[in-house]
């Protein structure tokens, strides 16, 4: 069993209750360990991708663009430029002679064709190596076309996803502060770190509307360039998925004095707490807001809670493994599973920070295994050892769960179900229920064997003198 764990990774795994909490993280992935992580480019791409009226041009060989073509459920209420995959498709001769000319020609061609409101140019691994001056090309094209053309320094090898988030935030920060802020109410927010998967940001916006809070910019789900340009006019930044957009919130606080709040729209308490925190922030400017928020939460819960009960009775006592990209999601999931009577026994993330893991260790139950930057061998080992019934993760974790006869809930960016908000909690319960209670698991050899062993044990009469 222990064989599944690399010596070098032992300190990236902790079992709550076994010694003082300490977890190594934020390290380079171990060579040969089949990390579930992606790269810097991936981090930038996921953050900026949902800006729907911008051109997203990937400067590099074809792979980086083609593997990120329309794979996420980030919806737009208007333009859908983000769903196209643009690349300079660098060839051998470009690598030898430089790709700047091709980049410029591609930008001019695409801007002419699509008339975007801004263009993001993603630098991939080899761009830095061959020495293309992406920033200079961007300046040049911006001057020629009159739209912001923004370089994103996302060379894949320069770290992991977190560096990519930072690069994306820097890119967006060049837009902030350049738009007109008139007509912005003092009671207003920017929604940071929500990507409108399956329309989730629309659920959250509706809550804010009911509370009387104006939403200035979606950053970035269903995002628009013009909104981001004027986002400095908002009274508050509400920041979800803190790893991805926290950098932007901090930069905005420094430059524009915009305060920020960390929120989460997953689960019941976190959703309600987030709305209350926003209401609390604005209570001086809008005394009625707290009451309106309470009413909203009450109404939502009065429909949600009875519905949840139906699912809970089948799910009570089941065990869950959670392995996600950023750790913030895991906090909310642990709490959300408690509402379903389920216990999280394994929790981990690709890119959690020290603070993230400390917080995780505080809220999870004793015995829970916490892992940083894990891999299929470790995850499968723990799923078996902890006798997990349901796994929450993304596409790469799904076969691990299924091969072991374990239910699966897709909580990644590819998902097509809205899981945020109160209605999202219900969808989440439905999804978990659908997988965890399916009759198919009984046929999976590992489950079949366990059931047989149990039946055999129950039918074995107690030997003389033995007692229960």
């Amino acid at each position: 069993m222990e064989q599944a764990i690399f010596e070098e990774r032992r300190d990236q795994i902790h079992r709550k209750g076994e010694g003082p909490f300490e977890l190594a993280c934020n390290r380079d992935s171990l060579a040969g360990a089949v990390s579930q992580r992606a790269c810097v480019f991936c981090g930038s791409r996921v953050v900026l991708y949902p800006i729907a009226d911008a051109l997203h041009l990937v400067h590099g060989p074809i792979g980086c663009a083609v593997y990120t073509w329309d794979i996420r459920g980030a919806l737009s209420s208007g333009p859908e430029l983000h769903r196209l995959s643009f690349s300079t498709d660098l060839q051998e001769k470009d690598v030898i002679f430089g790709g700047e000319k091709k980049l410029k020609a591609a930008l001019l061609e695409l801007i002419e064709r699509h008339k975007p409101n801004a263009a993001f140019v993603y630098a991939t691994c080899i761009v830095g190596i061959i020495g293309d001056d992406v920033a200079a090309v961007c300046r040049d094209v911006a001057a020629q076309t009159g739209i912001p053309v923004i370089p994103v320094q996302s060379e894949g090898f320069k770290g992991n996803k977190r560096e990519g988030y930072a690069a994306a935030c820097k890119a967006m920060f060049t837009l902030a502060g350049t738009g007109d802020t008139k007509d912005i109410s003092p009671v207003s927010v920017n929604i940071l770190g929500d990507f409108n998967l399956a329309g989730e940001i629309w659920i959250i916006r509706e809550y804010f509307e009911k509370m009387g809070v104006q939403v200035v910019a979606n950053i970035t789900g269903d995002g628009r360039v013009a909104d981001i340009k004027r986002c400095h006019g908002a009274g508050l930044n509400v920041v979800q998925c803190s790893g991805a957009t926290m950098e932007l919130a901090k930069m905005m606080q420094d430059k524009f004095g915009t305060p920020f709040l960390r929120v989460s729209y997953l689960g019941i308490e976190d959703m309600a707490d987030s709305l209350y925190a926003v209401a609390d922030h604005f209570r001086d400017r809008d005394p009625g807001i707290v009451a309106r928020t309470q009413k909203l939460v009450r109404e939502e819960l009065s429909t949600l809670l009875p519905e949840l009960k139906k699912y809970r009775k089948d799910l009570e006592g089941k065990k869950v493994a959670v392995y996600v990209g950023g750790a913030f999601k895991a906090f909310s999931l642990i709490k959300a599973f408690r509402h379903l009577g389920m216990q999280v026994v394994l929790v981990g993330s690709q890119t959690g920070t020290k603070e993230d893991y400390e917080e995780l260790a505080t809220i999870c139950d004793p015995g829970t295994v916490i892992v940083d930057d894990s891999n299929p061998l470790e995850l499968s080992k723990f799923v078996k050892e902890l006798d997990v019934d349901l796994f929450v993760g993304g596409v790469k974790e799904r076969p691990i769960a299924h091969k072991l006869g374990v239910g699966f809930c897709d909580h990644n960016h590819e998902r097509k179900e809205a899981l945020e908000g109160f209605v999202g909690m219900l969808n989440f319960a439905k999804e978990v229920h659908a997988s965890a209670t399916s009759p198919v698991w009984r046929f999976v050899p590992r489950r079949e064997a366990a059931a047989k062993a149990l039946a055999a044990a129950e039918n074995t009469p107690l030997a003389a003198g033995e007692s229960l």
Partner: protein, 451 residues
């Protein structure tokens, strides 16, 4: 040369080179694909491949960081191989390079020679390496280069002669490969299918999680290739300077026969003829019957598909094979497009349509979906034929999509789709006819329940 008039690429009709190599290495028993490059490449490709096969697809990476990109990736490569040896127990490590390591100039064969020397006291796995810079070629070049590297590096001496046939099938589905195995068994010969993803990428539910999926071409079968009666390579398109079959022919005198991807009657006939030529065994009755049923189905269904105009896109060999199939059932392929550039693409399209179509479909290489869609505006197609990535275009054009090849990301059961042999063509034909029937039924105000 690319036929696209544009500099930029929009919605590429190809994947990058190392993906093909990684997938091919997965078809070797006990092998782990290993990408020498940044961590992201392995992860992106895993996600892409898993979404099609719905199977675990572990690809190790040397996970280079900034320091290694400057000072060279050798230490990470070596450490990574040691790690996959110890944790995966891999007996073969298939190392493919990426754009990063090619650009920084890592000399992988030299690094591997050093590695073998340095760790000669350990039980080392076979390490096969292939150069797959993603700025050169497509996933299919990566696939074929990996297959050539496997044959070139693992087959070291002439094996005892035996009644064995080597087949290099290219990228076809696990179901296709299972069919191929049946065919070889029915011909009464041993076979080396290189590579063989039929088991490794379509595993049954099992008691435990397999670190490395069972199945795949065994090392013994690979080494036996040099003593085979001959090799048959599927796919008319030229991909690499020296293919696996040509390599074995040059070094060991193993006769190599290249046939098209055997889709449809004529291309399958050619494959069976090649088998007969090598083994002296006539086509077994089972396949003569299958062929008969296919002809019967063609006849029964011909009017439903007659004169329909098809746009075919994807990797070269699949496109050529589909054009061969469509032409012989009376569909008119009007555009054959690929993201790859390929010396003999146009000539191959002409060859598979000769004598049936007055002229071959227009062939375009090096194009993306923007190019294809632009041209489609004037073509009035009735159907698109290709992988899942054409779905949005089919939807915009309001025509059905016959899903074939890889990737199938928007339907269930991609690995179980069949294309090759008479049986594969029969399934394709059924699906195609039914697409047209369904369209007719859905579009009809009458609601026919009897067609």
């Amino acid at each position: 040369m690319s036929d696209s008039p544009y500099v930029s690429t929009t919605n590429a009709c190809k994947l990058c080179t190392p993906l093909g190599a990684a997938l091919a290495f997965r078809g070797i028993e006990g092998a782990i694909p290993f990408l020498h490059g940044s961590q992201g490449c392995a992860t992106y490709m895993r996600r892409y491949i898993i979404s099609h096969f719905r199977e675990p697809m572990d690809i190790a990476s040397s996970a280079l960081g900034e320091k290694q990109a400057v000072f060279g990736g050798g230490p990470n490569l070596k450490k990574g191989i040691l790690n996959v040896m110890s944790k995966y127990g891999a007996t073969v490590v298939g190392v493919a390079t990426t754009c990063l390591t090619e650009t920084i100039g890592d000399d992988v064969p030299r690094l591997l020679a050093e590695f073998r020397k340095e760790f000669g006291d350990l039980p080392l796995p076979e390490i096969v390496s292939v150069s797959t810079p993603s700025y050169s070629g497509t996933h299919m070049e990566g696939w074929h280069a990996a297959v050539a590297a496997l044959a070139g590096q693992l087959v070291k001496e002439k094996a005892p002669a035996e009644r064995r046939v080597n087949v290099m099938p290219g990228l076809v589905s696990p179901a296709d490969l299972r069919h191929l195995k049946d065919i070889l068994a029915d011909f009464g010969v041993a076979g080396t299918i290189l590579p063989d993803i039929s088991d490794s990428m379509d595993r049954p539910a099992l008691l435990d999680y397999e670190k490395l999926p069972a199945g795949g071409t065994t090392l013994a079968d690979i080494r036996a290739m040099s003593g085979a009666l001959g090799s048959i390579e599927w796919g008319r398109a030229d991909h690499v300077a020296e293919s696996a079959g040509t390599n074995l022919e040059r070094r060991f005198g193993v006769k190599n026969i290249r046939v098209g991807l055997p889709v449809g009657i004529r291309e399958t006939d050619a494959f069976f003829e090649a088998l007969t030529e090598l083994t002296g065994v006539p086509t077994p009755a089972r396949y003569a019957n299958e062929r008969g049923r296919l002809v019967d189905a063609y006849v029964d269904g011909h009017k439903y598909v007659a004169g329909k105009r098809a746009i075919v896109y994807g990797e070269e060999d699949m496109v050529i094979a589909m054009v061969a199939f469509l032409a012989e059932i009376g569909v008119k392929p009007i555009l054959a497009a690929t993201g790859a550039t390929c010396k003999n693409f146009k000539a191959s399209l002409a060859a598979v349509t000769e004598g049936i179509l007055p002229e071959p479909p227009e062939a375009r290489e090096g194009v993306d979906f923007h190019d294809i869609a632009e041209q489609a505006e004037t073509l009035a197609p009735d159907i698109l034929v290709g992988h899942s990535k054409g779905y949005r275009y089919a939807r915009d054009m309001n025509v059905p999509l016959l899903r074939v090849g890889f990737p199938i990301h928007d339907r269930f059961g991609g690995p179980r789709m069949r294309h090759v042999g008479y049986g594969g063509a029969l399934e394709l034909f059924d699906r195609l006819v039914n697409l047209f029937l369904e369209r007719k039924q859905d579009d009809s105000a009458v609601g026919y329940g009897y067609l």
